[in-house]
Symmetry: C2
Subunit: 348 residues, 2 copies
């Protein structure tokens, strides 16, 4: 127990051969007893099961995957994990995959494209049965690797553009447009887009673009951007609001790129004495667990996180079983709370 120095103690872990020797049958019979129990006599089967239990036998799936059909690994590549939507997606996804005995192998790129290439290569080296990856915009090498691997690929969270194989996501540009339309419908006129905007977060860019187009369509002054190339945190929201209002005091509506940033925005506005929602409106994105519990409660967009995880799992299994690739678009929902004035026009 004490030393992990030896690579693996010779003969330490039991194999099919250990069981076979113990029961007095061939390796092959033991193998069949596991994979196709009906082909083995019940009495023998019982003895084998007993021996396996006694020796704490655990099959070596590396060996199984090598020789065989599939590896039962699903590679999951996300761009962030903490303070992010993706923890929820992974949660749902992995528990759905459990039914099919598929194991999740996790990688987190942290929005670094070089890291993404490395990690995708690394995931592929385990010969996964499928790969689920956040986003539809990847470095060319990633697309090439995934395509040439022949493995089913499900792109998650976003949709649109050139899908590698299959996709399950939402329309981010539409969501950004809806954020702006809601805040316009509430009577705010001088709008800003605020939050984290990392270079490779295409979803954030799409939402900003959607918001800008809605504002142009409404004939309002141009959307002011107050963004920074770093992850979203509440403190970032505070900093950006101060910066924003120092330069653009006329702003009366803030479209946030995420709820966590909006939390900081609400706090900073309170400190500056700007009343929400009377003087200024705020809308978030994500519907985080605390959105309904800050003061005032936060209007936001609720993406179908759970649904995305579920559908991705379904699609993975379908693709493994040879069904055709497809793209599923998941709905989001606008949740109007108290950080925006009541609007007359219907949501969405």
């Amino acid at each position: 127990m004490s030393s992990g120095a030896e690579p693996r103690e010779r003969g330490g872990t039991p194999t099919l051969a250990s069981i076979a020797a113990k029961v007095g049958v061939s390796i092959n019979t033991v193998s069949r007893a596991i994979r196709a129990p009906k082909t083995v006599r019940p009495e023998l089967r019982r003895q084998i099961a007993e021996a396996m239990d006694e020796l704490n036998y655990v099959p070596n799936r590396l060996a199984g995957g090598l020789s065989g059909t599939r590896s039962d690994i699903v590679g999951v590549v996300v761009t962030s994990l903490y303070y992010s939507e993706f923890a929820s997606i992974i949660d749902t996804l992995q528990s759905a995959l459990l039914k099919d005995n598929l194991q999740v192998m996790l990688a987190n790129t942290r929005y670094d494209p070089d890291q993404e290439i490395t990690l995708v290569r690394s995931i592929l080296s385990w010969r996964p049965a499928a790969v689920a990856i956040i986003g539809v915009d990847h470095p060319a090498k990633v697309t090439e690797l995934l395509k040439s691997s022949g493995v089913p690929v499900i792109e998650m969270w976003d949709v649109g553009g050139g899908i590698i194989d299959s996709a399950v996501g939402m329309d981010h540009e539409g969501a950004g447009k809806a954020q702006a339309q809601h805040i316009i419908a509430c009577g705010y006129r001088h709008l800003a887009f605020l939050g984290s905007m990392r270079e490779n977060d295409m979803r954030a860019r799409k939402r900003a673009r959607g918001a800008a187009s809605a504002i142009a369509a409404a004939g309002l002054p141009d959307l002011v951007h107050s963004v920074r190339q770093e992850g979203g945190r509440p403190a970032l929201g505070e900093e950006l609001v101060h910066e924003l209002l120092d330069h653009h005091p006329q702003i009366d509506g803030i479209i946030c790129n995420s709820d966590v940033v909006a939390f900081g925005v609400l706090k900073a506005l309170h400190e500056r004495g700007r009343k929400v929602p009377d003087d200024i409106g705020v809308i978030g994105f994500g519907d985080s667990e605390a959105a309904n519990y800050v003061t005032p409660s936060l209007s936001t967009i609720r993406p179908g996180r759970h649904r995305i995880g579920e559908l991705t799992a379904e699609l993975i299994v379908a693709r493994i079983n040879g069904e055709e690739p497809r793209t599923d678009v998941v709905d989001w929902e606008l949740i109007a709370r108290n950080s925006t004035r009541p609007s007359r026009s219907p949501n969405r």
Copy 2:
């Protein structure tokens, strides 16, 4: 691209043999070119690298793991993922393991002991180089499987009791005691413990026990429990507060089992017209990102999540390299904010 039906297209994925054939050398020269470049002529090496790139060669680590020394997989078993501390731990852990080319294989038990047995067995079937698992209290079969596997095991989050191999965690009983001591120091006298308390969440039980002992030591009335066997959500906090105050109107201090539950508690207290922190004090656990942004801001315990992830990664690498098992205790910190009155006595 369209059909995933065939197990794996014969000859589809390039192997060492494909490269060897293309360049006109033996398989094993290619293998050496990868693992020990110095043993291969530079010119040949260049040709091989070229061929690998052209064919999008990705080594098969199943095969590597089978034949060899290690599998480079680290199994990570958590009890929950969404709305939990563990997303952060996994985040840190996996990015630290990246440096050593170790891949995270993820499993989520959702506090189900049967699931835990299944998942640990499943993880072990991949012959991981190490296993990191939440908690120190496991079903007997899990302990047995892990012990007999001979794989280094790092138990995370909690410490104390019979450690299987190594552990990195915090003292939950001490944290619970500190929650109570703080709230007592702030002058509250009639205390309740409130939140999620799943049967197999031993950490929650330990914190409750710690709180109870601090209260007994202070000679105050017994801790009132208002808990339920389900996951923590803000709405649960709301429900439990109403239930609690209907039966125990004298309560003037609430110790919450998690911040998300505390968010609901604050809201419900506001609705009932009980002033926080004047009439009643509230303390959370976890220091979630929103804790400083609800109204009033939430006093809480900040566990060393990041540190736990880091130390676990370090310990995994150390154990793989044959260093001795050890147990690291990570500090937590009491963060006093505005949901409790200012206290005279020093924290902790």
